[in-house]
């Protein structure tokens, strides 16, 4: 428990730093936000309008005062309004988030369904054809651009065979192609990782010891080997949950899937700074929470860390 509190404090400090940096960066960014805001309406802008908006946004105050106001509003979940839609950024993010979570989960499922059996089989049948096949899969899978794989799947299943919808969100059918694309792309790395992790465990002395006690091979595999092999996999998995989230960005744009990834890219193209900033903070919050969650998983799988208080790093 003390450990989690410590992590939280660390995170809070980091978060303040990050929010300040992102605040300053946005301030330094090219383009006048006021003009940006007014330009969207595409009517002639008067000097007075600009001034009054400046006043309203407290843009004439010194930087640290601006930051203070911003921070105060931030803790009331007020991240400002999008230049584009005029809606509060926080609401925008929240309304888009479930779609991304959905996509992440289904992709994760695809990933596990591909990499767990393939990795296990290629470890059990080392240097047999299945191992070579998985090596090829991993090599090609990690070299193929995910958006291109998506394009090809889209061309095949949506355009040529007309089986699945290619764009948008709605039914479960809309999820199949995006999550298949992302899941295949992600599983390439895990197949090999799981394989080498399993192989390493096979050669541990305690496996020989368990064998010497007459424990069946099946039980040794699932009870003594598999669980331990999950530790490095979980670590990398935690790290790649982040890249999974970033993977959704490209996939969401590709399939016009309305998640937060599509939101941020639209915002970047249109220079919608409040949305960009909101996204940065939102994502960093998410990633830190994932990291803490992974730490807890880690502690469950490895009692030595839990009971002795040995840290991961």
């Amino acid at each position: 428990m003390a450990y989690i509190v410590k992590r939280m404090m660390e995170f809070l400090l980091f978060f303040l730093l990050l929010s300040f940096v992102s605040f300053v960066f946005i301030k330094l960014a090219p383009g006048d936000p006021v003009k940006q805001m007014l330009r969207v309406d595409e009517v002639a802008v008067t000097k007075e309008q600009i001034e009054s908006l400046r006043e309203e946004l407290k843009l004439n105050e010194p930087l640290y005062v601006q930051y203070w106001y911003w921070l105060k509003r931030f803790f009331q979940f007020d991240l400002g309004h999008s230049y584009m839609t005029k809606k509060p950024v926080f609401d925008e993010l929240l309304s888009r988030f479930p779609a991304t979570v959905m996509l992440t989960c289904t992709s994760l499922m695809v990933m596990v369904f591909i990499s767990a059996p393939l990795g296990t089989l290629s470890a059990l049948y080392k240097n047999k054809w299945i191992d070579h096949a998985s090596r090829l899969f991993a090599l090609v899978g990690s070299s193929i651009p995910s958006f291109w794989l998506g394009l090809i799947l889209m061309d095949l299943f949506a355009v040529k065979l007309n089986l699945l919808p290619s764009m948008g969100k709605g039914t479960w059918k809309h999820l199949i192609l995006p999550s298949l694309t992302l899941g295949i792309a992600m599983s390439a790395a895990y197949v090999r990782l799981l394989r080498s992790s399993l192989l390493e465990s096979f050669h541990k002395d305690y496996v020989k010891a368990a064998r010497s006690r007459g424990i069946s091979e099946k039980r040794i595999f699932f009870f003594h080997v598999f669980r331990h092999s999950l530790i490095p996999v979980i670590t990398i998995f935690g790290m790649s949950l982040g890249s999974l989230i970033s993977g959704t960005v490209v996939i969401e744009v590709l399939f016009s899937y309305p998640g937060i990834g599509k939101l941020i890219v639209d915002a970047i193209v249109r220079r919608d700074y409040p949305v960009i900033q909101g996204y940065v903070l939102f994502i960093s919050l998410l990633i830190v929470m994932i990291n803490i969650f992974i730490d807890i998983c880690y502690r469950y799988l490895n009692p030595e860390i839990r009971l002795k208080g040995v840290e991961r790093r």
């Binding site: 541990k204 002395d205 305690y206 496996v207 020989k208 010891a209 368990a210 064998r211 010497s212 006690r213 007459g214 424990i215 069946s216 091979e217 039980r219 009870f223 003594h224 669980r227 331990h228 799988l301 490895n302 009692p303 030595e304 009971l307 002795k308």
Partner: protein
């Protein structure tokens, strides 16, 4: 009565012979010691008897008969039934005798389950009994993870586990090499007691001539994959015939007085 007889056993690793015509018998209730320098093939012999040879090592000829059955001919499944129940092991590296992230009790339970049809309570009872036998705080050890115990405790726990199902042969592969000298004596005494109580045989592997001298009935001396001399303790200790045995005896630190003290204790 002969419990185990190894006949002209040859083992090769990538076509390179590493055991050459190894030949010995172990009688029921006998403490048989294999002694020799590291890399002389003692552990390979032990692994072969348990069917635990690494995949690259192959028995090229010879037989291993346990209770008049050639166990080199057994299927994996039949061998598995034998290991732990009839032939059990204690290894040098006590830390990897147990899987590190599973509680000791759970692992003992698992072993009983693999060999006997008992209820949950009976299994627990049996495991606790075995732990008490080696003078460990049974309840606490039962609920501990391996890393929570000291080296001596772990090695005693692994002896407890090895003897739990009353095997006919205990193979102890340098069980004390990684322990300090006081713990060593303790562990060896426990092994000797257990042997007396259960009347099992022990195949004891060591490179320490003093341990061989104190407990064994018969001693085999190994060198580069061959048994160069075999005989009763007295013959080997006081009338060695092979030059290597003489070398081994001379190389051992002969601290007579200390030796006697230990015996007196």
């Amino acid at each position: 009565m002969t419990l185990l007889s190894v006949r002209k056993l040859n083992i090769a690793f990538h076509n390179k012979p590493i055991l050459k015509n190894v030949d010995f018998n172990i009688r029921q209730g006998e403490w048989f010691t294999l002694i020799g320098e590291s890399g002389s093939g003692k552990s390979i012999t032990a692994s072969a008897i348990g069917g635990l040879l690494p995949g690259e090592m192959i028995i090229t000829s010879g037989s291993i008969c346990f209770e008049d059955k050639d166990i080199t001919m057994l299927s994996n499944k039949e061998f598995r039934k034998l290991r732990g129940k009839e032939i059990s092991f204690v290894f040098q590296d006590y830390q990897s005798s147990f899987t590190p992230f599973i509680k000791i009790g759970k692992q003992m339970d698992e072993m009983i389950q693999a060999h006997c049809q008992l209820t949950k309570e009976e299994r627990r009872e049996k495991a606790l009994e075995a732990l008490e036998e080696v003078q460990l705080p049974a309840e606490r050890v039962y609920d501990s993870y391996p890393f929570q115990l000291s080296g001596g405790q772990l090695q005693r726990a692994s002896i407890a586990m090895a003897m739990m199902l009353k095997p006919k042969l205990l193979i102890a592969d340098e069980p004390t090499t990684a322990l300090d000298s006081i713990t060593t004596i303790h562990v060896l005494e426990i092994m000797a007691n257990m042997k007396k109580k259960m009347n099992c045989s022990i195949l004891f592997i060591t490179h320490d001539i003093r341990q061989a001298k104190k407990y064994s009935n018969t001693i085999g001396v190994m060198k580069q994959g061959e048994i160069v001399e075999i005989g009763t303790k007295e013959t080997i200790m006081y009338h060695p015939s092979h030059p290597y045995t003489k070398l081994l005896l001379n190389a051992a630190p002969t601290i007579r007085r200390l030796d006697q003290n230990i015996v007196l204790q």
